[in-house]
């Protein structure tokens, strides 16, 4: 599976044509995919915010934003601009350094995790060997940022919100990691590219969701809990805690939290689609279609076409999941903190452990279906 668009190689060859050394070419190349992914993430947030407003309006039989652009598509940009020009306030009795560092620590690990999200065979920033494990490790940093901002705000609602966020995040990380482990067991690799390639054999039939239905549901519940979405948005439960750890924040610092939570939602949806829904794979394998139409799979035009289909498929699957998450938010009530922790420790953890053991057993019994 070594074919596919390799933009880095072509770009470096192009620069070398101007007489630059390969090292300089590499340094010029490095920031480009990072910038592209950052822009993609921010645009994704804008789209998600608009979707959230429109779908919530539809769920409550309202119209929602309408005047800012056609169908209100410019509303999220107006929101962003408003947050940009607002005054940056640090409460007088708050701890200035920790108050500023908190939102940064929440946002940076989420953005770093985009490193491993593949949109195609070579369309990712870095195919690191530890792949999906990097995301699990990075997402464990976030609770520190939440605790930090909760403590630094010097407000009891903030502190309670921060403590709740950390407790929730710790208890849901374990079933999350265990359900990822079952996938890794089937793939024999931690790399996200290998995980998608392992599902690309027979189109929609070979997606992991058929082989890991329990893992899929556990992962999705845990991902929602990690994103602090309703029904798991206890850290910022507005009826009890004002706005949780964000209570004292305004302007750009609040925008960082806002951005972080939406980027995290999109990232989780992307990872569900990569782990369980075949990533960039088309429901019918593209190679099969090309063979049917008698087209050479390695021709440049076919390559560009399959790459664009890959990107479209990844984004489509992710946004389908985002849509489900938004619907869930506007239709389900919130769970209590004890129900939340019970669900995590007494239900999801044993189920994901059993899922891991059964996967290991099935892998030994049917190596051709569960990855030998």
């Amino acid at each position: 599976m070594e074919y596919g668009l390799d933009l880095e190689y072509s770009f470096n060859e192009f620069l070398k044509g101007f007489g630059l050394s390969s090292e300089i070419a590499h340094i010029i190349w490095l920031p480009l995919p990072m910038l592209l992914v950052l822009v993609a993430a921010v645009v994704g947030v804008l789209v998600t915010v608009w979707l959230e407003r429109k779908i919530s309006a539809a769920a409550q039989q309202r119209i929602g934003p309408e005047y800012a652009g056609a169908l209100g598509v410019l509303q999220p940009i107006a929101d962003g601009l408003k947050l940009l020009v607002k005054e940056d306030i640090i409460p007088a009795k708050a701890d200035g350094i920790l108050f500023t560092a908190g939102p940064i620590l929440v946002l940076v690990p989420v953005i770093l995790s985009w490193l491993i999200v593949p949109f195609g065979q070579n369309l990712l920033i870095s195919n690191v060997g530890i792949g999906i494990f990097l995301w699990i490790a990075l997402s464990s940093i976030q609770p520190i940022g939440l605790l930090m901002s909760g403590y630094a705000s010097n407000n009891k609602y903030s502190l309670l919100g921060g403590l709740r966020a950390a407790a929730q995040s710790i208890s849901y990380e374990i079933p999350l990691a265990l359900s990822v482990l079952a996938i890794v067991l089937m793939t024999n690799s931690l790399s996200t590219v290998d995980i998608v390639n392992q599902q690309s054999g027979a189109g929609i039939l070979s997606w992991n969701i058929w082989r890991q239905p329990v893992g899929f549901i556990v992962f999705w519940i845990c991902a929602l809990a990690e994103c602090e979405r309703l029904p798991f948005d206890l850290p910022e439960a507005e009826e009890e805690l004002v706005a949780g750890y964000q209570t004292e924040y305004a302007g750009m610092k609040f925008a960082l939290f806002y951005l972080g939570s939406y980027i995290n939602l999109i990232l989780s949806a992307l990872l569900v689609s990569i782990l369980y829904l075949g990533g960039w794979g088309f429901p019918v394998p593209v190679e099969l279609i090309a063979k049917f139409l008698n087209l050479p799979i390695n021709a440049p035009f076919i390559q560009v076409f399959t790459a664009s289909i890959g990107i479209v498929m990844t984004v489509l699957k992710a946004y389908l999941l985002v849509f489900i998450a938004i619907l869930l938010r506007w239709t389900t009530p919130r769970v209590r903190i004890d129900q939340l922790l019970d669900l995590g420790w007494k239900f999801l953890l044993p189920i994901s452990l059993a899922n891991l053991l059964i996967t290991a057993g099935l892998k030994l019994a049917f190596p051709q279906f569960f990855g030998g």
């Binding site: 340094i27 060997g129 464990s140 609770p143 403590y151």
Partner: protein, 199 residues
Amino acid sequence: MSIAITTQIICFSVLSLVILIGALGVVLLESIVYSAFLLGGVFMSVAGLYLLLNASFVAAAQVLVYVGAVNVLIIFAIMLVNKKEDLKPISDIKSRRIISTAICLTLLSLLIRVDLTNVWSLSSPQNSIGEESTIRIGEHLFSDYLLPFEVASVLLLMAMIGAIVLARRDVMSKDISTGLPVDQELIEKSSETLLTNKN
């Protein structure tokens, strides 16, 4: 000197500086909260050093275990207690500080001596296994390091059972801290859910 090596040297010096300053801050700062957060920074920089040594799996494990679990729990405990009381001034604080500094310096000189006298077998960059290290670590854990691995898990299990026994006081007949007999009825009442019987 190539760009790659220069980048490595810059990264190494920045990481070492952060580790040294951060570790000193953990020990010397008055505020326990700052110490706890700085400890997280030190753990992260150590993970960065592992990354420089091509041990990406160890680096990620370091972040997951030390930053994500150990440090979060430390901060959690500090914030749950969150007592704002003034500590009593200790009379002989100066002599205590001198003694502890002397002990630390002795240990440091011992470490430096070990570092200088030992002959380190350095592997050349060509021999490093890089991405394959994850597989090697797994193989070692299930062959020659199996016993330490299992002993460590038994140790963790013991700690977990101990924590559960301490938290669930109804399994004891006496209170651990005060030695008084525990009122079992009170515990039964408080462990019931609050809302079930009210309607």
